[in-house]
């Protein structure tokens, strides 16, 4: 009996340490936040990831002739995951901001959309300092929306911070928050969904620099090589029309953020 115990102990130790060995370097790991964020990324019951960002990722990888792997990570750990080399690219609707650029690099912007406030149809809430006095604003952690809400209304309203946008949406429906501030398209998908029927856009947030310059892929500062490849691929997709092809599947307006 002792032999088996010791043998299992050794086996377990070997198993545990085998994980420390260098990972297969071939596939480029794209980190996606592991929560439904339609129409950009969401997981179906079959386990397959679908959405605009997923399709764009596949197209970019095909264009750059790279093997890519989708890795699920927690949103509030996505930058540490990048720095820890658990993923190579952040591809999860992350806005390009000054603050983030101090720590990581970004690829070319691959979409740009404004932020909006969403509340119940029946609510006559005004999006202003007076209107939001004493109200509860729901935002996702580590987002430009959270930063803007704190900056603009932090002194009059209560800002509730959620680990995922999905949970924030659920709490709006549950009545635990009065209004949401998030990406226009993501909230549009929410409004169009079953549980979002009673909600509507109340106002669009002004174009504050805190929102950054669109959404791009997050990269480690030293990965210039990979960054160059991805940028070339993104540019190519915009030029040869494949970007529009993918975008048309989900949107009937231009989200590329380019004024050409």
């Amino acid at each position: 009996m002792n032999r088996t115990v010791i043998a299992t102990l050794l086996a377990g130790a070997v198993l545990a340490f085998s994980g420390v060995a260098a990972d297969a370097q071939d596939a480029v790991k794209f980190g996606v936040a592991a929560e439904p964020y339609p129409p950009f990324s969401s997981k179906e019951a079959s386990g397959k990831w679908v959405g605009f960002e997923i399709d764009l990722m596949d197209a970019v990888c095909a264009e750059a002739k790279m093997k890519c792997e989708l890795v699920e990570v927690a949103w509030d750990g996505i930058i540490p995951s990048l720095q820890e080399k658990k993923i190579d690219v952040i591809w999860s609707s992350m806005s390009i901001t000054e603050k983030r650029m101090q720590v990581i690099d970004f690829t070319e912007m691959y979409y740009d959309t404004p932020a909006v406030f969403v509340a119940a149809r029946s609510s006559d809430i005004q999006v202003s300092k007076e209107g939001l006095d004493g109200k509860i604003i729901g935002v996702q952690t580590s987002t430009t929306h959270a930063d803007y809400a704190a900056k603009a209304y932090g002194d009059v309203a209560e800002i509730k911070i959620y680990d995922t946008q999905d949970n924030a949406n659920a709490d709006l429906v549950a009545g635990r928050v009065d209004v949401l501030l998030a990406d226009a398209i993501a909230l549009d998908a929410f409004i169009k969904s079953d549980q979002g029927g009673d909600y509507e856009v109340k106002a669009q947030a002004p174009d504050d620099p805190i929102f950054g310059k669109g959404v791009g892929g997050g990269m480690r500062k030293e990965d210039d090589d990979l960054e160059g490849k991805l940028n070339a691929a993104i540019k190519a997709l915009l030029d040869n029309g494949k970007y529009n092809e993918i975008a048309k599947k989900y949107f009937d307006f231009d989200i590329s953020g380019r004024t050409s």
């Binding site: 002792n2 990972d23 439904p36 019951a45 699920e72």
Partner: protein, 240 residues
């Protein structure tokens, strides 16, 4: 959407149901727990040895280890190890001189975090168990001229395990439950898959209940196993 698919369909395998995702999560939970438990046992034996060695520094390190794990929430330790582990390890290795790129897989990071936590509790279990073995046994072995490795293997270890088993059994349950915490850092296991299913289908109560029941099944099965093991290990010992 929720009204159309029945409960059994939601849980089924294949494309429409989340059953396969949940089962995969459960399998990963078991894998992680087993590996973390074994790592914890190794750390526990080391820790107990350090504390009992009589060496002042070793004892001090052992105490520091158990105090930190005892006082700091597991979730904080897991977040810390997950988000800083690789860079800390890289810096440590760099300081020693082993340069190069350290790549720690998420699985290894999860096992390390959970094993680190389990190890501190194991230290206490093993320390108590080793102290419970009558001193005369080891003295007799030494009188016979047994080398220390043989002494440990044939005299200390079997008897120690008998005293340690209740604590070890309880710790196994603790490890299984603590493994659910790694879902917070986005690691795919049982609770995480339940969370994803619940969010996708907007059926929170249902899927979280299913997840909880799955854990309950694991713990009940474990409790049966522990009961059997305790009976086996105590054979030949006069019932108290």
């Amino acid at each position: 959407m929720a009204a159309e698919t029945s409960y059994t369909e939601l849980l089924s395998f294949g494309d429409q149901g989340w059953g396969d995702e949940l089962l995969l999560g459960g399998w990963l939970t078991i894998q992680i727990s087993v590996c973390a438990y074994l790592v914890g046992m190794a750390l526990g034996l080391l820790g107990a040895g350090a504390k009992l060695s009589g060496n002042r520094w070793a004892g001090w390190i052992g105490d520091l280890y158990t105090t930190i794990v005892r006082a700091v929430p597991e979730l904080l330790l897991i977040i810390f190890i997950f988000y800083t582990g690789t860079s800390t390890l890289g810096q440590l290795f760099g300081a020693i001189g082993l340069g190069g790129d350290i790549q720690v897989s998420p699985f290894a990071a999860a096992v390390a975090a959970l094993g680190f936590i389990a190890g501190a509790y194991m230290t206490e279990v093993f320390r108590g168990a080793i102290l419970a073995v009558p001193k005369g046994q080891m003295e007799a072995a030494r009188a016979y001229g047994m080398p220390s490795a043989l002494r440990f293997r044939r005299i200390m270890f079997p008897q120690m395990m008998r005293y340690a088993l209740p604590g070890l059994g309880n710790l196994w349950l603790v490890v299984i439950k603590d493994s659910s915490l790694i879902s917070v850092v986005g690691f795919y296991e049982l609770l995480f898959s339940a969370k994803q299913a619940a969010a996708s289908e907007r059926m929170y109560f249902f899927f979280y209940s299913v997840g909880a029941l799955a854990f309950l099944a694991l713990t009940i099965a474990s409790m049966v196993g522990i009961f059997v093991a305790e009976r086996r290990v105590s054979r030949g010992v006069r019932p108290v």
